[in-house]
Structures are given as structure tokens and as C-alpha cells.
């Protein structure tokens, strides 16, 4: 017993000594950060769960498997996937152009990339709807080739792509900037063609960032609301997104149903983000030789 008491005391003393860190303010800064994270993120999430827990399992299942809601999952998933894949391609191209080439107006383009973040999404939605409507600037030309964008699921893709493009550009850009030119020169001096240099040397360093960017863009698109509702047309079973379903349930004062659907979206986003992080951690560990 006496030994266990001693063992219990010793770590406390050691902790006391350990607290003499070189960098001051560890306890305070960590405390404030955790408190804030709880206040802003964890508490609302808990609220969501608490709200949902008022339902029975059957009610919950009934709410989330309502055919109209299920249809909205499908629409949201495929549009978000299409939008984020498009952003993966176009965002990579944009980042490449911004890092690799010098051209007049480069800094303006660089600044404009962040515009979707700065612009209220509703403004973006209204603007896009106007541009792509039957007699809008883009819409009238697209109509001629039989492509309807506004008030169709395609409009959802456009709105999602617009609001989430900065995620891809801003995650890929710094990685591209840090690529050592010597790696590419080494590959070329070994006789590799430009395509091979890109595939074997540039892309492998780039793709963890690209995948992260695409995943962020995807999760962001899953929850996008403001920009979409103005351009989607919101036809039940055709162009309703899940976030709109949450909104509709709220308008019906059915808070429990709204939280039920919301918790599902939250769960999907969390699983996606965690798995991306896990996968990326493993990939990066290999590069750093741990």
C-alpha cells in the first residue's frame, strides 16, 4: 500500500517540474482553445443529438427514409460529387497556372479565387440563376445546344462548384509552390517525358493535397444551401438537396425531423473528413520516413 501511495505521489511531483516549459502559457492557451471549440462546435452538435434523441428509433428511421428525403440524398451526393470532381480538375489547373506562370493580372486572379468565400452564398445563387436562366447571358447560348442549367440538378452542380472551388486551389497551391524544381530536373535528366514527369514526380507529391481539397469541396457542397436554392428550382424528387429538406422541416416546425436529417449529414461529413485525415496521415508518414 505504501508503495502505491509513493507511486501516486511521484508523478505529481514530476508533473510539477514538467510544467516549467520553455514556451509559457501552455495551460492558458490550450484551455481557451478547448473551451472555445466546445462552445462553438461541440455544444451545438450535442444539441443536435439531444434534439434527435427525443424521437424513437422508428420515428427517426421513418424520417430519414422518407422517399422525398432519400431522393434528396441521391441528388445531393451525385451533384456534390460532380461539382467536387470538376473542382479537382479545374482547381488543379488554376493552382498550376497561378504557381507556374507569370502573366499580367496574376495577382488579381489570385485574389478573385477567394471571391466565393467572401461573397454571401445567396448573392452567388441569385447571380448564377440570372446568368443561367433561359434568357440570361450564359443560359440563352446553352439553351441553343439544348442544355438547361437553371432550375435543374445541373444548376445545383454549378452552384456547388462555384462556392467550393477555393478549397481545391488553396490546398493545392502551397504544395505546388514548395515542389523542388530539382526533382523535375532530375526526372528530365533521366530521360522522362513531360507527361511522365507530371505523373511520376509532380502528381504523387500533389495528390494528398488534391484529395484533401476535393474532399473539403465535397463536404462543403453537401451542406451548401444559400447558393443552391435560387438556381435549383427545388422540384420535389428532382432537384431538392438535403439541406433544403432540413429547411423545409424547420418551416413545418418539425425540429426533431430537421435535426434527424441534419445529424445524418453531419455524420457523413465527419466520417469523410476523418477517413481522409487517416489516409493522408499514413501517406505523409511514409514520405517523412517515420
Amino acid at each position: 500500500m505504501s508503495t502505491s501511495a509513493q507511486a501516486g505521489v511521484a508523478p505529481v511531483r514530476r508533473l510539477g517540474r514538467r510544467s516549467k516549459r520553455v514556451l509559457p502559457g501552455f495551460g492558458l492557451s490550450l484551455g481557451i482553445s478547448l473551451f472555445f471549440v466546445s462552445l462553438v462546435l461541440l455544444l451545438p452538435m450535442t444539441g443536435l443529438v439531444v434534439e434527435t434523441s427525443g424521437m424513437t428509433w422508428d420515428q427517426f428511421w421513418f424520417t430519414i427514409t422518407d422517399p422525398r428525403v432519400v431522393e434528396s440524398y441521391k441528388v445531393t451526393l451525385w451533384t456534390a460529387l460532380a461539382a467536387s470532381l470538376f473542382n479537382g480538375l479545374f482547381g488543379l489547373l488554376l493552382a498550376w497556372v497561378l504557381v507556374r506562370y507569370e502573366f499580367p493580372g496574376k495577382r488579381i486572379v489570385d485574389a478573385v479565387v477567394d471571391l466565393p468565400f467572401a461573397l454571401p452564398t445567396a448573392v452567388a445563387g441569385i447571380t448564377l440563376a440570372t446568368l443561367f436562366s433561359q434568357n440570361g447571358w450564359y443560359g440563352q447560348w446553352l439553351a441553343k445546344i439544348g442544355l438547361e442549367v437553371a432550375f435543374t440538378p445541373l444548376g445545383i452542380v454549378v452552384a456547388m462548384a462555384f462556392t467550393s472551388i477555393p478549397f481545391v486551389v488553396r490546398t493545392v497551391q502551397p504544395v505546388l509552390e514548395e515542389l523542388s524544381p530539382a526533382d523535375e530536373e532530375a526526372a528530365v535528366s533521366l530521360g522522362a517525358s513531360d507527361g511522365r514527369v507530371f505523373r511520376k514526380v509532380i502528381f504523387p507529391s500533389l495528390w494528398p493535397a488534391l484529395v484533401t481539397g476535393i474532399a473539403l469541396s465535397f463536404t462543403r457542397s453537401l451542406g451548401e444551401f444559400g447558393a443552391i436554392i435560387f438556381i435549383a428550382g427545388n422540384t420535389p424528387y428532382v432537384s431538392e438537396v438535403t439541406s433544403l429538406m432540413i429547411f423545409i422541416r424547420l418551416q413545418e416546425y418539425d425540429y426533431a425531423a430537421a435535426s434527424a436529417i441534419a445529424s445524418l449529414v453531419l455524420l457523413a461529413s465527419l466520417i469523410l473528413l476523418f477517413s481522409i485525415n487517416l489516409w493522408q496521415g499514413r501517406y505523409l508518414r511514409r514520405l517523412e520516413g517515420r
Partner: protein, 373 residues
């Protein structure tokens, strides 16, 4: 494969990195491009490789003009200062990269590539590391892998940019010796860039000293050390002691110091360059020179004792350094703070604006004088 560099010019903006450089690199030799940073040595190497284009001039490999040829078609091996290994590929995959980049018709079979890689791993003495990633290797191991990768396609020419620059002293020495042995075995034509004169003199068959975008001197290490042709080369090849003064009555005089200079024209500015091993220390001035110096520091480490001295009653831009054998040191026992006199055996005199030095051997002149009498 010999390399001919023909009147190469290169500008970066307003800065002229290479000024009309012409040079012949003989086949099968290890040539060092030696110079301080900014001398254009790396730029020249990159132009030879095709990683940089010249503004004018030609590069010939064995008589063929390759100036317009892309790097990937020049069939050179290039080793980068910071290795530039592909960090997401294993050591074996890195080495195989060049072979797998060959056009389909010339590309060896998978089996053959595996064998070639295994052989190269043997050559760099790291067969057990085939499956490791670059981040798991030490600096010296990375540089060996980079070398094996560059040699995998059996290039005609091997170019190395400061190959040992990022390594610590011990590994550097080992790797240097190893590279020399490798070169002697395989006989490719290689050029390496370095700012370390010791490395250049120890490793190469031919040294090209560069300064401010121009070639200062080309010679074998022995030839270069024995006969530096300019002030710059002198300054660059290790420490040199300088007495600058005025020639008066067969003497070079500055303050309390003088050195006898038989047969040099009266009344002109001159600098006498004396290397640490060309000077002896004595407790009293000699008939041919009076160079009073006070001992500032003594360094015992190494095969020779290195003594640093400050001029007494005259001026020198830099501190003087004189080497002394340990036996001599034990006999004479010089201590810090004492006043000693430097006695030159051999010196190199730059008169007025002349570029080339005149070597003066006092031992020889004294012997001649003695026999004349």
C-alpha cells in the same frame, strides 16, 4: 566522350554569369569546376547538362553539337547538390526511374531492370536498403542512391553539382574516395562543381578555376598548386601571405619589413605572395629578408603546426600563417606573444599591374651567389 565548350555566354537579367567561356574536357577524366559562389561554375554545369540554355556559343559532346538538344536526349547523368531523390518512391524505384523512362523499344524487360538495379545497389554498397524510402536514409546514403540513379542508364557523361556540399566532413571524405574509385573503374567523363579547393585538388584529374564568369586557369592539381597564374588563383587555393610594398634598391620595402629581390626594376609597386609552407620562422632576421611578426595563435592539430602571426611595424590585410613540422616546433618552441622573423624560401612576385607572377627561389639564388664568389 570528350566535351567541348565553345564561347558560351549567359546573362541573367543584367548580370553576366558567363563571359565567353571556352574549355576542353578530355574524355574519361574527372574534371573539377572550382570557384567561389557567383563565379558561374554551376551555371556552366547546367548549360552542359542542358538544364539551362546559353545566350550564345556551342556545347559539343565528342564533336557533335548538342546545343539544341533537350536534356532528356543528351544522355547525361546529373547529380544534384540536395540529391533530388523522389521521396514517394523507394530506393530501388528511384534507381530504376531512368531505365523505366526509356522509350518502349529500348526499355529493358522488368526482369532485366530488377537485375540492373540490384547490381547498382551492390555498386553503391547499399543492397539492404532497396525497399527504404529516401526520408529513411542518411545524407551520405542519399547521395549514393542519387549517383546510382544517375548511372543506371549508363550515361556517357556524369555531371555533379556540389556533390558533397551538404554532407559532414567525415562522410564527405569517405564519399570522395569512393567516387574516385568508382570513376577509375567505370571511366565515364565527369565534371563536378565545388567551392572547396581541397576537394577539387584531391579528387580531380583536371581543375578549372573560375571567377566572375570566366576561366582563370586550367591545369592538373599538381600543376595548379605549383604554378598559380593569377592573384585570384593564389587567394583561392588556401591561405597565402602577402607583403605589398615598393621596390627600392633590389628590395621590396614596406615599413620595417623588406625582402631582397635581385633583378627587379626600381621604383614600382609589387606584391610578394608567400604560401605557409614556403616560409620559415627564425628568431633573428636573415640577410635576404626582414619580416618581423608577432605570434598570435598556434594550432597544433593536423600533420603540421599552424602558426598565425601579425605584422610588427608594417601592414598586411590578412593575418600571416606559417606551417612548421611538429619536430621543428618542439625544437624551436615558439610561444604566443613572441617576436619572430619570417624567412622566405620561395615566393611569387606580382609586379605593378602584371597578371602573371614571377617565381623567386632564394635558396637557388643564394646558392648561385655563393658559387659565383
Amino acid at each position: 566522350m570528350s566535351i567541348t565548350i565553345d564561347q558560351i555566354n549567359k546573362n541573367f537579367g543584367g548580370f553576366q554569369a558567363l563571359k565567353n567561356v571556352s574549355l576542353d574536357i578530355p574524355e574519361g577524366q574527372l574534371t573539377a569546376l572550382l570557384g567561389p559562389s557567383g563565379s558561374g561554375k554551376t551555371t556552366l554545369l547546367r548549360i552542359i547538362a542542358g538544364l539551362e540554355s546559353s545566350d550564345s556559343g556551342r556545347i559539343l559532346f565528342g564533336g557533335d553539337d548538342v546545343s539544341q538538344l533537350h536534356v532528356r536526349d543528351r544522355n547525361i547523368g546529373f547529380v544534384f547538390q540536395h540529391y533530388a531523390l523522389f521521396r514517394h518512391l523507394t530506393v530501388a524505384e528511384n534507381i530504376a526511374f531512368g531505365l523505366e523512362s526509356l522509350p518502349k523499344k529500348q526499355r529493358p524487360s522488368k526482369q532485366e531492370i530488377r537485375q540492373r538495379v540490384a547490381k547498382l545497389l551492390e555498386m553503391i554498397q547499399l543492397p539492404e536498403l532497396a525497399k527504404r524510402y529516401p526520408a529513411q536514409l542518411s545524407g551520405g546514403q542519399k547521395q549514393r542512391v542519387a549517383l546510382a540513379r544517375a548511372l543506371a542508364t549508363q550515361p556517357r557523361i556524369l555531371l555533379l553539382d556540389e556533390p558533397f556540399g551538404a554532407l559532414d566532413a567525415k562522410v564527405r571524405k569517405d564519399l570522395r574516395r569512393w567516387l574516385r574509385a568508382l570513376h577509375d573503374e567505370y571511366h565515364f567523363t565527369s565534371i563536378f562543381v565545388t567551392h572547396d579547393q581541397e576537394e577539387a585538388l584531391e579528387l580531380s584529374d583536371q581543375v578549372v578555376v573560375m571567377s566572375q564568369g570566366q576561366v582563370e586557369q586550367v591545369n592538373s592539381p599538381t600543376g595548379l598548386y605549383a604554378r598559380p597564374e593569377s592573384r585570384f588563383v593564389f587567394d583561392f587555393l588556401g591561405h597565402v601571405n602577402v607583403l605589398s610594398g615598393l621596390v627600392k634598391g633590389q628590395k621590396l620595402v614596406q615599413g620595417d619589413a623588406w625582402v631582397s629581390l635581385p633583378g627587379v626594376r626600381h621604383d614600382q609597386e609589387a606584391q610578394l605572395y608567400l604560401r605557409p609552407h614556403e616560409v620559415q620562422l627564425s628568431r633573428s632576421p636573415a640577410a635576404k629578408a626582414r619580416l618581423p611578426l608577432r605570434i598570435e595563435a598556434i594550432s597544433l592539430i593536423g600533420s603540421e603546426v599552424r602558426i598565425e602571426l601579425a605584422p610588427e611595424g608594417w601592414q598586411s590585410d590578412e593575418i600571416w600563417e606559417i606551417g612548421m613540422s611538429h619536430a621543428e616546433f618542439a625544437r624551436q618552441n615558439p610561444t604566443r606573444g613572441e617576436l619572430w622573423y619570417a624567412v622566405p624560401d620561395v615566393g611569387h612576385l606580382f609586379v605593378a599591374d602584371s597578371v602573371q607572377p614571377r617565381t623567386i627561389d632564394w635558396q637557388y639564388t643564394e646558392a648561385a651567389n655563393a658559387s659565383n664568389m
